[in-house]
Symmetry: C2
Subunit: 436 residues, 2 copies
């Protein structure tokens, strides 16, 4: 074993030269990155918001294969500035007004850094108790800030979980709802299941239904009109359900939206949930964008009726100052998720899970491995505090209100639908355009 | 509008005091975080690897609700050290030997920080061309390092995509395979579809099948034995397929593994793919852990036969020095993914997508929003270079080999299966235990 031993010593010597987690090298390079990031934010307003590059620009600038030898961080950061920054669409620019916002913050960025630092693979409680417990705690905190009904909170036997995006949140709840029904009526009836949304509902729901094996013909994008401000009307839901039932189909899932993507329309939760309940339909409330605003008492009324829903989600990475990704999902009946999403192979067994005293979030989501996302939400809540967070949200809404008034007072433009939150839908008046 | 104007000015003044993205405040707090992180790594070896806390420890230490007022970063970091660190299971400790590793690195951490900095929501090319193009480029780089057959690379009309985890990678390919079959035989036959793996295959495959609406009775965990070193034998696959076909069922998906979770067993890709091809079965190769090692020529033979598979994935966050999450998935036929996972609502339409000259990764994955994950993979490849990366991997395997030899030379222990990579399966010899 002499020669192996020698090899091993040699190897150790080589590795110690380039220990990939050397703390002082991490410190040195880390400080450089922070200055790079701070400089980026100092200058972000100067960049054209939308990247001006042409398709394929980057392959012309980068080598054809990975380098054989290490390159210094200085050179890499120079390349980031020269070749990556021009290809960035600057979502964090104050001049960015596309889609919904991606409202980052210092606290969100720092929280993400801490989560990256610990780099835990938090599939179950034991794999890092702090990751699981902090998540349950902040989800109850945020749930209380939203005055979500008690049955959605851990303190009321429901509970919250951080998913990556609304797509995942909807897929998890839809699969739970699907299996709840199929357990009663038999799996062979999967082709009869019907999902409901409106023609304003986010495409996430149709995709989730598709992934979950629901017949694509059984997805109902119920028509909305301007007369209901593009909200899903109870009458149209009821008549659609009735004709499906008459056709021998089985309604099982409704996605209602608070703040649709196109116009921030609000579906009337109360009446929709009442209809859904009568037909044993699971109601998920997607408040991806607008949910955050509901921590302000004056906007909370938009959630009225949520007490009769089964699950509720909002994206903290949209309008709640965490970075992507951070979707907050609350469910009244976590066991419905667990029945569909739990796995417990030999290599994951442990005493804590067996004790049933802990939450194993792997059973609340699609993936096994999961990041320590609660860290950034915790930092946002603490760094700003509830009062400031409300103030931020109100200031955005106020700016939109001011803009809406300016547009309304200009005859060249018209407001298309009344503003609910911080999105203003307007257009150039066609007749005026013609005149010009 | 006078009073609104005044309100607005006041508001602006207040917000400017606490601009959540102020560059100099970001710089100040960012440097503090870097020192915190560097100190963590300086001390990580001193912590007990496994957290010693009891279930529910954290709720006893944190307030019952979110604070109303802001708290300084100094106080928050103090709480992280006092209350979070004790609840961390230290995956990055050099003394950590549970599960598969989560091999972080400075380059991985820094890449994650840059990705967080830009905080782009990169669903399609236009939303940040650099994010999409860098991903395609590094996936071709890594594919070439693995000498993946050309049809898996963009340069060969296949392509790679970064998913969060293997669970997502498998779900995407399974749904693509499912729909390919159902388009031919009709959706009503979904209940007849059968998925194959071995009793050593990761639970991710069973969960993916369950999410995708496959009848849970139609998941085959084919028995393996020590005589085949826990690899799936072609004979057992063939006989299982035959009996399913005879029963009127429809085989459609096989997950073969290179480096199983329990023993790093290797399924024989070549013969398995040949059988699968004859029955039009999609083969996904899950090399979550062991795939990384295959950038070393001496380990590449473990992938022999991959040329006949349809998709291949490895987790760069396991053994390739990126932080969680970073699963690399290559497919030969991206259009199969796109047919199942594409959405194109009004609010996402744009000229670049219409030109068909760009990749819109939203159609290659479950979620719409996606993080700039390629940044960390790029930094890892450049900061270390191919030569060093191979050296790191070899040094891990060599350490395992040394340990294996030490164990084998000690009569109290026995090696259970021969070592393939850096995992050594051993146990105390039962008879020796009895004697003591």
């Amino acid at each position: 074993m002499g020669s192996l031993q020698k090899d091993h010593e040699l190897e150790n010597e080589m590795v110690s030269v380039t220990n990939p987690l050397d703390s002082e090298e991490l410190r040195r390079q880390g400080h450089m990155i922070i200055d790079f990031i701070a400089d980026y934010y100092k200058n972000v307003e100067k960049y054209p918001v939308r990247s001006q590059v042409e398709p394929g620009y980057l392959s012309k600038r980068l080598p054809e294969s990975a380098p054989n030898n290490p390159e210094p961080i200085e050179k890499i950061l120079q390349d980031v500035q020269e070749h990556i920054v021009p290809g960035i669409t600057h979502w964090q620019s104050p001049n960015y007004f596309a889609y919904f916002p991606s409202s980052g913050s210092i606290a969100g960025i720092l929280g993400e850094m801490l989560s990256t630092c610990f780099n835990v693979v938090g599939f179950n409680w034991m794999s890092s108790p702090a990751a699981t417990e902090l998540e349950s705690i902040v989800m109850d905190w945020l749930g209380e800030m939203l005055t979500l009904p008690k049955p959605f909170l851990f303190s009321g036997n429901g509970g919250g979980v951080l998913q990556g995006t609304t797509c995942e949140a909807i897929l998890c709840t839809l699969v739970a709802a699907r299996d709840q029904v199929l357990r009663n009526i038999g799996r062979e009836n999967i082709t009869k299941l019907v999902v409901y949304g409106s023609d304003q509902t986010h495409s996430a729901i149709q995709k989730a239904a598709q992934i979950a094996g629901i017949n694509p013909n059984n997805f109902r994008a119920i028509r909305t009109t301007k007369s209901s401000l593009f909200g899903l009307t109870p009458d149209s839901l009821l008549s659609t359900i009735k004709s499906d039932v008459e056709a021998g189909l089985i309604p099982f899932f409704l996605c209602a939206t608070i703040g649709t993507t196109s116009t921030t329309a609000v579906d009337p939760l109360g009446p929709l949930c009442k209809i859904a309940k009568k037909h044993s339909i699971w109601v998920h409330v997607d408040a991806a964008y607008a949910g955050s605003a509901c921590i302000c008492p004056e906007f909370r009324h938009f959630l009225d009726g949520v007490e009769d829903a089964d699950s509720f989600s909002l994206n903290a990475h949209k309008w709640f100052f965490t970075t992507l990704d951070c979707c907050c999902l609350w469910v009244k009946d976590p066991s419905a998720l667990i029945k569909s999403l739990s796995t417990y192979p030999e290599y994951l067994r442990n005493k804590a899970s067996e004790s049933k005293l802990v939450v194993d979030y792997k059973d609340w989501q699609i993936t096994l491995s999961r990041r320590f996302r609660s860290m950034k939400l915790w930092l946002v809540l603490r760094s700003y505090g509830v009062t400031n967070l409300r103030m931020f949200l109100r200031s955005h809404v106020k700016m939109a209100k001011t803009f809406e008034e300016l547009v309304a007072s200009d005859k060249r433009f018209e407001i298309v639908v009344p503003r609910n939150f911080a999105l203003v839908c307007f257009r150039a008046v066609p007749s005026v355009i013609k005149l010009r």
